[in-house]
């Protein structure tokens, strides 16, 4: 069976299409950044600190009644929402002064239990604001370090114009994925940071596979323009790009549907990221390299030192 007919000859990188792609990417990135600047992210307590309680009720939970009880008990800033099922309720409070946090949480628990129904305490988290900001810092650091190392690796294996293309594509993917969370105000927690980093890894995987073929074709198709060689390469890799994207999306959809509410933001981030990443490895990465006037001559240098390539497994 084949999804893609044997020889596609789609002109992905014609100047007109490239222009559209660049515009589209710019719109994505600008909208994402604008949303991040104005709406920000719905940070989970991993980052803000605070108190979180997940409780299971025997029957469908009456959110209004729970909110009423909490307000009466003085918890005016409590956020109450359903979590996955109509019997599961999530209650969040902003960070409390350190010494009273656990006390506040106990009171909160007591208030919920006083609601009459038997409740099952499923999860409790008390994170201080200080630890929250540390976790946020480490998340950001991980992102930057990963991008930097990847830039260096691609530079060693290929050439800096490819590196720039790859990192442009990755930054594009990361910004748009995080932007998606901002636009739709989805809960942004530590697992989403992990997902965004996995997206970076995945998208790069795609990009590098395309670059690999481009390098091969730069030498195989002598006398052909860089644009044509890249076009041929992308077409040749199209089946693989789509199939791998598809199988990965299949498992992620299974994870989103079956994995439960707490892993849902993670699944959404990966699904969005992989769709964007597939698009960007076709367009953003190659278009950026082309904009930097990449040419077969750029890759002649590594050939003079074949050990650079051949020594790698």
């Amino acid at each position: 069976m084949q999804i893609i007919s044997k020889k596609t000859r789609i002109d992905f990188l014609s100047p007109a299409r490239r222009k559209i792609a660049v515009m589209l990417s710019l719109v994505f990135v600008v909208v994402s950044l604008a949303s991040l600047a104005t709406r920000g992210l719905d940070f989970g307590i991993d980052f803000t600190g605070g108190i979180l309680l997940e409780v299971g009720y025997e029957q469908a939970a009456d959110l209004e009644a729970i909110r009423g009880n909490l307000t009466d008990a003085g918890f005016t800033d409590a956020q109450v929402q359903l979590f996955g099922r109509d019997t599961d309720v999530l209650v969040r409070l902003p960070p409390q002064p350190e010494d009273s946090a656990t006390q506040v949480r106990d009171e909160l628990q007591a208030t919920l239990e006083a609601g009459g129904q038997n409740i099952d305490l499923r999860r409790m988290e008390t994170v201080s604001a200080q630890v929250g900001s540390e976790l946020a810092e480490r998340g950001a650091l991980a992102m930057v370090v990963a991008l930097l190392l990847i830039f260096v690796y691609v530079m060693i294996r290929f050439q800096w114009k490819f590196s720039a293309g790859a990192v442009a594509a990755l930054a594009h993917d990361a910004i748009v994925t995080v932007g998606f969370f901002s636009i739709f105000q989805l809960p942004f927690d530590l697992t989403v940071v992990a997902a965004v980093l996995a997206v970076i890894g995945y998208s790069l995987n795609d990009t590098v596979v395309a670059f690999d073929r481009i390098r091969e074709n730069f030498f195989a198709l002598r006398g052909v323009s860089a644009e044509d060689a890249m076009n041929t390469s992308i077409n040749e890799m199209l089946a693989r790009t789509l199939i791998t994207g598809l199988t990965t999306l299949l498992v992620l959809i299974a994870l989103l549907v079956l994995g439960g509410e707490s892993i849902a933001p993670f699944s959404i981030a990966l699904i969005v990221g992989i769709i964007i990443g597939t698009y960007s490895s076709i367009y953003t990465a190659s278009a950026t390299a082309l904009m930097l006037n990449v040419s077969p001559q750029d890759l002649i240098e590594p050939i003079k030192h074949p050990e650079l390539i051949d020594d790698l497994p």
Binding site: R123, V131, T191, G201, V209, R213, R240, I243, T248, F266
Partner: protein, 602 residues
Amino acid sequence: MNKFPLWLNVLVLAVLLAGCLFALPNIYGSVDAVQVADNDGLAYDELRLEEFVRTVENAGVTPEAAYLQDGRAVLRFHSTQEQEAAGERLRTAYDREANIAATLAPKLPKWARDLGLKPMSLGLDLRGGVYVLLEVDMETAIDSRMVGYQQGFDERLRDAKIRHRVDLDGQTINIRLTGAEDVESARVVIRRMDQDVLISDGADGKSLIVRMSEAQIQARQDFAIEQNITTLRNRVNELGVAEPLVQRQGADRIVIQLPGVQDPNKIKGILSATATVEFRLVDQSGGEPGSRRFQGRGTEGAQILKRSVIASGDQIIDASAGYAEGQPQVNITLDSAGGENMLRTTMENVGKPMSTVFIETRREAIPGRPGEFRKVVRQEIISTATIQGVFKDRFRITGLSPGEAADLALLLRAGALAAPVYIVDERTVGPTLGQDNIDRGFNAIKIGFLAVIIFMAIYYRAFGLIANVALLSNVVFIVAMLSILGASLTLPGIAGIVLTVGMAVDANVLIFERIREELAADSAPQSAINSGYEKALSSIVDANVTTLIAAVVLFSIGTGPIKGFAITLLLGIITSMFTAIIGTRTIVNLAFGGRKLQSLPV
């Protein structure tokens, strides 16, 4: 063409079998069990194990299996009722010498235990439990050392007959002398007591200023955190939790994981409690230098107590709660230095009163200044008694409620914290959510896996089936690696496995597409296979190395859920390289290699 030498086929098979063997323990599930561990960490032998089994059988419960693991005795039971009854019985018999904890034990057959096989452990989010991150108050660790110096300098200078006044100002000690002529001799006395403190001359020419050196501060902080870890470990052991984890994190934090604990409130007080006691003589004249007034607790009267401490909490080596004449009490055993001092003091002071002071440190928020705290040290006299006769290292203290007596005994037995600790992060997962997470996670793996397998079989036919075998062995290898490394599986870890399943086919997709390309370019089937594998290799390696970079960064910088995800992703990338490249090639070679083929089912 396309034939592997025999040894390579055998090697691949051997690796696969080894993977299956190490992954095997995970299919047995777990049962209720009781774990008995010696308080001093001594390993039990078969004789002791038999003794425990007999003890339990006397209570009418027969263990389903009983064995030793890492020197601890594990008794498995058929039901939770039996487990509880057995735990109760063992606790009555051995509570003083052993830590008896209810736990879940893997239901491994004997041969697997004998081989040292273990299933992977489940993270707190899957089995339920409490995670606590504590911050150690280093300021207090330094402060308490400074008080020690102050007392020490004071005594030494008095012994050397140098007139002086020692004041503690934060982390600086001011030693004021009567004249410039005493400065040098005082300096010698201080140096003799401590080689490393920083001594500088005061501005008035007749005083010395003493500080701790950077190295001393560092050493003190390291000591404080190590001491706290030991103490916390002791306290956690007293709580009867199986497989607790107490670990240093960074410069001033301690992570505690208590699997299976459901009520964090019960343990919280015990973990951060700084309660300790000290014993001082009552200053009956009320005018001795350094004497100070202490409040009494409840109905206990206030007293003026002498400066010197006869014995303090850190010299107590054993403590147990009990009753005498209907009153709760704590029976104390002192170490030899404390005992000597107590002996000397009681000999010299028969008929005079001595007080027991209860000390507790807490951190309070400063009203109106969020994020700032002040330390509140509560020192109260819980009892004052006349010294009736001479005693040494064994005596009792009274003046507490039954609950306080039990807690104080536990805290004294486990040792005092060298510095107060505060909870900065606390997460509890209930057992129902844990089970839910397991069910949901495995469901997602199953369905996702099935979807990919069906797709691959349809799309690549026989080669797709081969890739599916590789995919399945890849999951087996990840599970085997997690079991060998003793890493815990968490919910994000399961997500990592799911993602790996999706991505691991990539290598095979690359290879198979390449083979198709070669066939389309009119290569013979055998050479298409060969160059398909060969030419795809550099792409596969590049692609995996880059993902590996992301995974390694995640693992080294990430915390908590990120780490759990990173470890399975990392293992998955490595194992998938083996299964997708060498594994599938082995099967392809066995199935198609060395034959004349007209076409390939790819």
